[in-house]
C-alpha cells in the first residue's frame, strides 16, 4: 500500500455566525492549507469534501454548491458524509485517493455553516430521526445524548464533577488556539451551576454551534519529498457504522468506535494503543463523549477515563494529552470542519508547529476520532511523524 502524507493544513476562525458564505469559508481554509504546503491549486489532482446535513443551510446537494470555493473547478471531486463522524472520516476519504494510486495529491476540506439555520440549528436535527417511530416524539440531540450520558454515568458510577473536568480542560486548552470560539477559563463549579438542558446535560457540557472550515493537503511520499522534509503520515484509517436502531444498543460503551479503532490500529500496526499512542483528539461535542471515546479508542479500560482525567493524565503536560487543541467544546463545533480541525491538530502537534498548544512528550503517534449519526458511527485516523 502507498503511504499517505499530510503536508499542509488550514483552518478558518470558528464562530457562532460567520458573515462569509460556505464557499468563502472553504476557500479560506483551502488557501491557508495550500500556502502552508507551498502549493498552488494547480498542484492538486483531486478534492475530497465533507459537510454534514444539507438541512443546516437548506442547500440541496451542498457539495455541488461548495465545489468552486473548495477548489474543485475541473477536478475530480467527491463528498462523503457520516453525520458527526464526517470530519475525521475525511482523513479516510482523502487517504484512499492517494493510497489507491489513483492520485498523487488530494485536498481535503470540511465545511459547516450552521448559523443559517435560524434561530438555532438544533431544529434541523429533528429530521435525523426515524420518520415513523421517533419523529412524532419530537426528540432532539440533547435529549438522546442525555440518555447516553446518564447510562454511562450509571453503569460506571461516575460523578458529574469528574465529567465537568473535561469541559474545564478543553475550554482552557482552547485559549491557546487562534481559531477558537469558546476559549475560556472556567471551573467545575461553573459547569455544575450552568443551566440544565436535559438532565444530566448542562449548558457547559455541550460544544457550541459554529460556522467554519478546515483543510489538509494529502500526497504521496514522492510528492511530499518535493515540498517538505517533515511530512506527517496517515498510517491507519478506520470507520464502522452500527444499526440505525439505536434504541437496541447498550449506550454505556461505543462498540462501533472500538471496531473503527481496531481497523485503524491494525493498518497502523498498533497492538497496544495505551503504549503506542502519544496523544489523542477524540470527538468531544459533549464533555462525557471525550471520556466515552477514550474508552472506545482503547486508550484506557471501560469506565477508567474519568480517573485519568482527574489525575491530570489527559492535560497537555500529562502522559496522554487529550484534545490539546481545545476540542469541539473549546474551539467550536462546525461538525465536518471540527473533525478536520482535529486532523490539523495531529499534523501541527506531530510537526512541532502547535505553538503554545505544543505538547511536550515528543509525540510520534496521534489519533483523531469522530462520532455521529444516531450514536452510531465511529471514524478514526492515525497519524505519525
Amino acid at each position: 500500500m502507498r503511504r499517505v502524507c499530510v503536508i499542509g493544513a488550514g483552518i478558518t476562525k470558528f464562530m457562532r455566525r460567520a458573515k462569509e458564505t460556505g464557499k468563502e469559508l472553504s476557500f479560506e481554509a483551502a488557501r491557508m492549507a495550500l500556502d502552508s504546503a507551498g502549493m498552488e491549486l494547480k498542484d492538486i489532482e483531486s478534492v475530497a469534501e465533507g459537510t454534514a446535513p444539507d438541512a443546516f443551510d437548506a442547500m440541496h446537494m451542498k457539495a455541488e454548491y461548495l465545489s468552486d470555493g473548495s477548489g474543485a473547478f475541473q477536478k475530480p471531486y467527491t463528498r462523503s458524509y457520516v453525520g458527526g463522524g464526517t470530519g475525521v472520516f475525511l482523513g479516510c476519504h482523502g487517504w484512499w485517493h492517494i493510497a489507491s494510486g489513483m492520485f498523487d495529491t488530494c485536498m481535503v476540506i470540511g465545511e459547516e455553516k450552521m448559523s443559517s439555520c435560524f434561530p438555532h440549528p438544533q431544529a434541523a436535527f429533528l429530521t435525523i430521526f426515524d420518520n415513523f417511530t421517533e419523529r412524532p416524539l419530537g426528540p432532539n440531540l440533547v435529549w438522546i445524548f442525555a440518555l447516553e450520558m446518564n447510562r454511562y454515568m450509571t453503569k460506571h458510577n461516575i460523578k458529574k464533577e469528574d465529567i465537568a473536568l473535561v469541559s474545564v480542560k478543553n475550554h482552557g486548552n482552547a485559549l491557546d488556539h487562534p481559531s477558537a470560539q469558546l476559549g475560556m477559563k472556567i471551573t467545575v463549579d461553573d459547569v455544575l451551576k450552568s443551566e440544565t438542558l436535559a438532565y444530566p446535560v448542562q449548558r457547559l457540557d455541550i460544544s457550541p454551534t459554529s460556522d467554519g472550515a478546515a483543510a489538509i493537503i494529502l500526497c504521496s511520499e514522492e510528492v511530499a519529498k518535493k515540498y517538505t522534509d517533515n511530512p506527517v503520515f496517515i498510517d491507519g484509517v478506520g470507520w464502522h457504522l452500527d444499526t440505525a436502531y439505536w434504541t437496541d444498543r447498550d449506550l454505556y460503551y461505543p462498540k462501533y468506535v472500538e471496531y473503527a479503532a481496531r481497523m485503524a490500529y491494525k493498518m497502523a500496526r498498533i497492538d497496544n494503543p495505551r503504549k503506542q499512542i502519544d496523544f489523542a483528539e477524540p470527538y468531544d461535542p459533549f464533555d462525557y463523549k471525550e471520556l466515552h471515546h477514550m474508552e472506545g479508542l482503547m486508550l484506557c479500560g471501560k469506565g477508567e477515563a474519568p480517573k485519568l482525567t482527574r489525575e491530570g493524565v489527559t492535560q497537555r503536560d500529562g502522559a496522554l494529552p487529550t484534545c490539546p487543541s481545545g476540542g469541539a467544546l473549546g474551539v467550536g463545533n462546525p461538525i465536518a470542519a471540527t473533525g478536520v480541525m482535529k486532523l490539523c491538530e495531529l499534523f501541527w502537534q506531530l510537526r512541532g508547529e502547535a505553538g503554545r498548544r505544543q505538547i511536550k512528550n515528543n509525540p510520534r503517534t496521534g489519533v483523531a476520532q469522530a462520532w455521529g449519526d444516531l450514536m452510531q458511527v465511529g471514524t478514526v485516523t492515525v497519524m505519525r511523524n
Binding site: S67, A72, Q74, S80, A260
Partner: protein
C-alpha cells in the same frame, strides 16, 4: 506496508429492483433490501462475512431525512461494519469503491443507491434548493428552465435540430419496450413528439425523463477475489469523474465539459476511447443531453448523431435510458451501469447486442450541477482484444 497494490477492479455482482413510477407497496428500506439480496445472490456471497466495505450514494433532501447514512446499514447487511455515504452520483460511488479496492485494504466493496422519488411531495422544491441561495434562488424559476435554456444554447451552437432531439425520445422509449424493468416503455412517433406541448421551449415535456422508484446494488472486487467469485467478471478499465463550475453565470452552456474531462480521465486509465467500445449507456435526463454528451464523450459530432445512430456500430442506451426506464435521481448512473454489465455478460435477453465486449457508461447529476462521471468496462474478451 506489506499490502499488495491492486491494479484491476471488477464488478462481480449486480442487483436491481424493477423500476416503477410509484411503489406504495414497499418502503425505501424494502427497495434497498431487494436490490441488495439480488446482488449478493448474483455473486453468491454473504455480506456479513464477505463484504469489507459498504458505500451508499444518497442526498438528504431526496430522502426527507437528514444525515441519511444512518438508515443505510441495516438493509444492505452493513450494520457494525465499515459503511459510508457519498453525496454524489452512483458512478462516483463505484469510483469510490474502485479506489478503496485499489488501496489493497478491501477485497470486496458493495455500492448502493436508490430512488423513492414517488414519496417526495414536491421534487421541484427540492431541486430549487440546489441553486445558489443569494444569486439564483430569489429569481424563483422552475429548475427545468435551466435545461430549456441550455438546450436552446446547445441547438444554436451545434446546429442540431429539435427534431433530432425528438428522435432520441422515440428511440429510447422504444428500446425500453424490450426491457422488462423499464417504467416508461412506449412506441411514439417523432411527429407526435413534435406536436406535443412545449414545457421549457425549445424543450418538449416528452423530452424530459420522468422520475421512477428503484434501487440498485453492485458488488465490486479486486482482481484476485473477482476470479475466485465469478467466471464472468466485468472489469472497470477506467473510471473518471469531474466537476465543472457550479455557477450558472459563467459556465459553458453549449458543451458538457464535465463529461469530456471525465472521459479523458477514464480513457487515460483504460488505454482506449469511445471509438473502441461496443455500446454506450449515457445520460439522457433530457433528450438533447444524449446528443450533447455523445459529442463531449467523443462518440460523434452532435451534428452527425443521426448518421451515427443509423450506422448502428455501437448502440446508445439499449436499456431505454432515463427516457425509457425512468430517472432514478442519483441512482441513474448505476442503472446505466447495470445495463452495461448485463450486455457484457451476455445476459441482456432480447436487448442483447452481439459481441458486446466493451462498454462506456456516463452519468450526470442533473440541473443545476456540472458533475459527471464516466466508466469504461470490458469483459474477459474485451481484455483479450487489447
Amino acid at each position: 506496508m506489506g499490502v499488495v497494490p491492486v491494479k484491476k477492479v471488477a464488478i462481480v455482482g449486480v442487483g436491481q429492483t424493477s423500476l416503477k413510477p410509484f411503489s406504495p407497496e414497499v418502503s425505501y428500506k424494502e427497495l434497498m433490501y431487494e436490490a441488495a439480496v439480488r446482488a449478493y445472490e448474483d455473486v453468491g456471497i454473504n455480506p456479513r462475512k464477505d463484504v469489507d466495505s459498504f458505500i451508499g450514494v444518497s442526498e438528504d433532501f431526496w430522502e426527507g431525512t437528514s444525515i441519511f447514512d444512518e438508515y443505510l446499514p441495516d438493509q444492505i447487511g452493513g450494520a457494525l461494519r465499515p459503511v459510508c455515504t457519498i453525496g454524489n452520483e452512483g458512478l462516483h460511488g463505484i469510483a469510490t469503491a474502485a479506489m478503496q479496492v485499489k488501496t489493497g485494504q478491501f477485497r470486496v466493496v458493495a455500492v448502493e443507491s436508490h430512488s423513492k422519488v414517488s414519496e417526495v411531495v414536491s421534487p421541484l422544491s427540492v431541486m430549487s434548493l440546489a441553486f445558489d441561495p443569494i444569486l439564483n434562488r430569489p429569481l424563483n424559476f422552475n429548475p427545468h428552465m435551466i435545461a430549456g435554456l441550455e438546450m436552446s444554447r446547445f441547438l444554436y451552437d451545434s446546429g442540431v435540430s429539435r427534431e433530432e432531439c425528438a428522435k432520441v425520445v422515440a428511440k429510447n422509449r422504444a428500446s425500453a419496450l424490450k426491457n422488462p424493468n423499464a417504467a416508461y416503455p412506449a412506441k411514439i412517433e417523432v411527429a407526435e413528439i413534435m406536436k406535443s406541448e412545449d414545457s421549457f421551449p425549445p424543450m418538449k415535456k416528452l423530452e424530459m425523463s420522468a422520475p421512477a422508484d428503484g434501487a440498485l446494488v453492485f458488488v465490486v472486487a479486486s482482481e484476485k477475489r473477482a476470479k475466485e467469485l465469478t467466471d464472468n467478471p466485468i472489469w472497470i478499465d477506467g473510471i473518471g469523474w469531474m466537476n465543472d463550475t457550479p455557477t450558472l453565470e459563467n459556465r459553458d452552456w453549449a458543451n458538457a465539459r464535465y463529461a469530456a474531462l471525465a472521459m479523458k480521465m477514464a480513457s487515460k486509465q483504460a488505454g482506449y476511447g469511445a471509438q473502441d467500445v461496443d455500446l454506450f449507456e449515457i445520460d439522457d435526463t433530457y433528450a438533447y443531453k444524449e446528443i450533447q454528451h455523445a459529442g463531449a464523450l467523443g462518440i460523434c459530432d452532435p451534428l452527425d448523431y443521426q448518421d451515427f445512430e443509423a450506422d448502428g456500430w455501437a448502440p446508445v442506451n439499449p436499456s431505454g435510458g432515463s427516457l425509457g426506464c425512468g430517472h432514478l435521481l442519483d441512482a441513474t448512473g448505476l442503472l446505466r451501469l447495470a445495463e452495461a454489465v448485463y450486455q457484457l455478460r451476455g445476459t441482456a435477453g432480447p436487448r442483447q447486442i452481439k459481441d458486446a465486449n466493451r462498454a462506456l457508461v456516463q452519468s450526470w447529476r442533473g440541473v443545476p450541477t456540472t458533475s459527471g462521471a464516466v466508466a469504461l468496462l470490458s469483459n474477459d474478451n474485451g481484455g483479450d482484444a487489447r
